[in-house]
């Protein structure tokens, strides 16, 4: 690939259909006594209606901070230092600038329009409420419906995620990990949101349960038509699930492309390294290399490319690049972007 640079792009996914959620030049810093630590640094990412965008990266790469920041769920010492987040839902008459909203306006937006499935369902569910009350609480807070309607809807939501209706009376501790995660998903879908953010929803689960749940999520997505931002460290899972994949490293996007391009023609050395880190179950045994070195320390990043210390292709000029995403000219995907202008 040769990286011709038509200059920095505003939004990686700019296209004819308008994104339902558009994050532009978004930065989040953690305030510490020894100065700001940039956890998310100038990221632009867009989610089109009905699309599954996968956000992959190691722990500390800023993927969860990005998602929570975009919903304004972060608390001090995290502060949003730049950027905009625009929501264009079917129910909203005009584009909504999430970063300009007052807290009460945010409450109306969150869950009704943008729902989140958190990583740890055990901590996210209220231990003293049974499943029915958890689900109806959400609906009564965000939708104008009667108690009976809410209960009826809660029951049909459980059908959606294949949990027997008898479980409406169960408390979280009476459910298995897989069932709790399904309840979380049902809760996220309770208000028919247009955007669902899933933060490592199946990381704690066994592969068999994971596949089962994700199969259901994809089915529901087809049926209900929400767009999904799926966050995980498991690139192999993401490649199966997502339409597009965005790879984060040290708070920056390093590559964005369709899942197919990421798998077959990865452009950034970090993506290549990640792909070479997974033992694969099928096919011939490959020689796996992994990525040498340790994950970056955000407090002391080298100038230029943060991946340089671990990169097999690095040269001196990498110290002066600004990590702007450029098109991968050789890629058939016009929206295949990489932050590395050098590697072929």
């Amino acid at each position: 690939m040769t990286a011709t640079s038509p200059g920095p792009l505003q939004a990686p996914f700019a296209s004819q259909d308008e994104p339902v959620l558009e994050i532009s030049d978004f930065s989040v810093a953690y305030r510490t006594f020894s100065g700001d630590v940039a956890a998310v640094d100038g990221i632009s990412l867009a989610l089109r209606p009905g699309e599954v965008v996968g956000l992959a990266g190691e722990s500390g790469s800023g993927k969860s901070t990005l998602a929570y920041g975009a919903c304004r769920l972060l608390r001090a010492p995290a502060v949003i230092t730049s950027g905009s987040v625009t929501y264009r839902g079917r129910r909203a008459n005009a584009p909504v600038e999430i970063l300009d909203k007052r807290p009460d306006e945010l409450r109306a937006l969150r869950w009704r329009e943008i729902a989140i499935v958190f990583q740890s369902a055990m901590n996210a569910l209220n231990p003293v409420l049974n499943v029915r009350d958890q689900l109806t609480d959400v609906m009564r807070a965000h939708l104008r419906i009667s108690k009976d309607e809410a209960v009826e809807r809660a029951a049909s939501l459980l059908d959606f995620v294949s949990i027997p209706r008898a479980r409406l009376r169960s408390y979280p501790h009476e459910l298995s990990g897989g069932m709790r995660q399904r309840v979380m998903i049902a809760m996220a879908l309770a208000t028919d949101p247009e955007v669902v953010i899933m933060d490592e929803p199946t990381t704690a689960l066994d592969v068999v349960v994971q596949r089962d749940i994700l199969g259901q999520v994809v089915e529901l997505k087809e049926r209900l038509g929400f767009a999904m931002l799926f966050i995980t460290h498991d690139l192999s899972l993401l490649l199966e699930l997502a339409d597009r994949v965005a790879i984060m490293y040290a708070g920056k996007l390093v590559e964005v492309a369709s899942a197919r391009e990421v798998l077959h023609e990865p452009a950034h050395p970090y993506t290549k390294g990640l792909l070479n880190s997974f033992p694969s179950l099928r096919g011939a045994r490959r020689r796996l290399a992994g990525i040498p070195g340790s994950p970056p320390d955000l407090r002391s990043l080298p100038p230029g490319c943060p991946f340089l210390p671990r990169c097999g292709y690095g040269t001196d000029r990498c110290r002066s690049i600004d990590m702007t995403l450029v098109r991968v000219a050789s890629s058939p995907d016009p929206e295949h972007l990489t932050a590395c202008p050098f590697v072929q």
Binding site: V209, H233, G283
Partner: protein, 372 residues
């Protein structure tokens, strides 16, 4: 039962044993590994629950660990794989069965014997963030086992041993790392300290319970390579406990698949992952994320048989997997199948192997399972 083939081996209750171990492709005669280090024979562990209810966490598990060979114990959470590690490490007493170390039975031990045993059998835990003491330096973590197990004669002998340990796990230069506290280290570096601490006792058996699953994906491979390197260098008999069957394929010589406390399939790693015989292993392999298979099963809706049942939903009679098994028939619901021998090195505990894995059973040899 009039099955001629596959033959049951080491069935429950028979208490046997040698056979099950002979299955191990990791025998010295087959692959040139070292001597037999540890053997589990019909191991059982029951936990008492509320009232008089009993949870059988480990049921009749037998295997052998040879020096220089890796055996992977694969299974979902709750399958009993960590309990097996605790039994082998002497942290829990088995409810039944035997463990031998270098051919000697392991039983009730005096304090001195227990210390000797500990120096031979070491554990590495999953979470390097909680298995190191935050108020002590790396030096402290390593010096203690060195003093306990090796009795160094002088301070300089101790220091030399510490530096050598740090070099074995490639935490170099050693001196500055020895002075650090756990919070100053990355997850990978901490896990290296755990490895070094285990090696400090000069063990012959290393039990690694999910040693890389808490680490970032980009460094997991490097850690497994290090572990692989250590087992070759020190001729360690390694038990690798994991839920990730793909890593077991790359890293282990033999794979044991556990389900609900039982070993349901065993065999050489490549054979088990490429041609799984037991329906549960088949489900496990089919469920693993597969980047080479873009937009595949997930879009098709995936497995349906598995819904809402995990191995903790206890099955009291028959095969523990029968409620999830697409091949289950009456016999599966009433009788728990023993391990059936498929080949010299392979076995699977399933009544329906002729249907589940016909290519492995060899259609000609199979008599239909008699009517029940």
């Amino acid at each position: 039962m009039s099955v001629t083939s596959p033959q049951p081996i080491g069935g429950p209750g028979t208490g046997t044993t040698g056979q099950a171990g002979d299955l191990g492709g990791a025998g010295p005669e087959t692959a040139g590994y070292g001597e037999l280090a540890m053997e589990a024979i019909g191991l059982r562990k029951n936990y008492r629950l509320k009232g008089s209810e009993i949870l059988a966490a480990v049921k009749d598990v037998s295997f052998k660990l040879y020096r220089g060979a890796v055996v992977a114990l694969v299974g979902e959470s709750g399958s009993g794989k960590s309990t097996v590690a605790k039994l082998l490490a002497g942290q829990e007493a088995p409810s039944g069965g035997r463990i031998t170390l270098h051919g000697m039975p392991v039983g009730v031990m005096s304090r001195r014997q227990f210390r000797r045993y500990k120096s031979e059998v070491q554990l590495v835990f999953q979470d390097p963030f909680s298995s190191l003491n935050p108020i002590h330096t790396v030096r402290y973590h390593l010096a203690r086992p060195v003093r306990l197990h090796q009795h160094p004669v002088s301070k300089s002998a101790l220091d030399a041993e510490l530096v050598s340990l740090m070099e074995q796990v490639r935490l170099t230069p050693a001196e500055p790392f020895l002075a650090k506290y756990p919070h100053e280290l990355s997850g990978g570096q901490r896990q290296r300290v755990s490895f070094a601490r285990a090696l400090a006792a000069h063990p012959s058996v290393l039990l690694a319970d999910e040693p890389v699953s808490m680490l970032d994906v980009s460094i997991r491979l490097e850690m497994l390579t290090l572990l692989d390197d250590l087992r070759t260098r020190f001729q360690l008999a390694l038990l690798y406990i994991t839920h990730d069957i793909a890593s077991a394929r790359y890293f282990a010589d033999e794979i044991l698949v556990m389900y609900a406390g039982e070993i349901v399939e065993r065999g050489p790693a490549e054979d088990v992952t490429q041609q799984p015989a037991h329906p549960y292993t088949q489900l496990l392999v089919a469920s693993a994320p597969d980047p080479d298979n873009l937009g595949s099963v997930l879009r098709g809706g995936g497995q349906r048989a598995a819904r809402n049942i995990d191995s903790l939903g206890r099955v009291t009679t028959g095969c523990p997997f029968h409620p999830r098994c697409p091949f289950a028939e009456d016999k599966c619901r009433s009788e728990d199948p023993p391990l059936m021998q498929l080949s010299q090195a392979r076995g699977a505990a399933c009544w329906r192997l002729d249907v589940a894995a016909p290519q492995l059973v060899g259609a000609a040899k199979v008599e239909p399972v008699n009517g029940i």
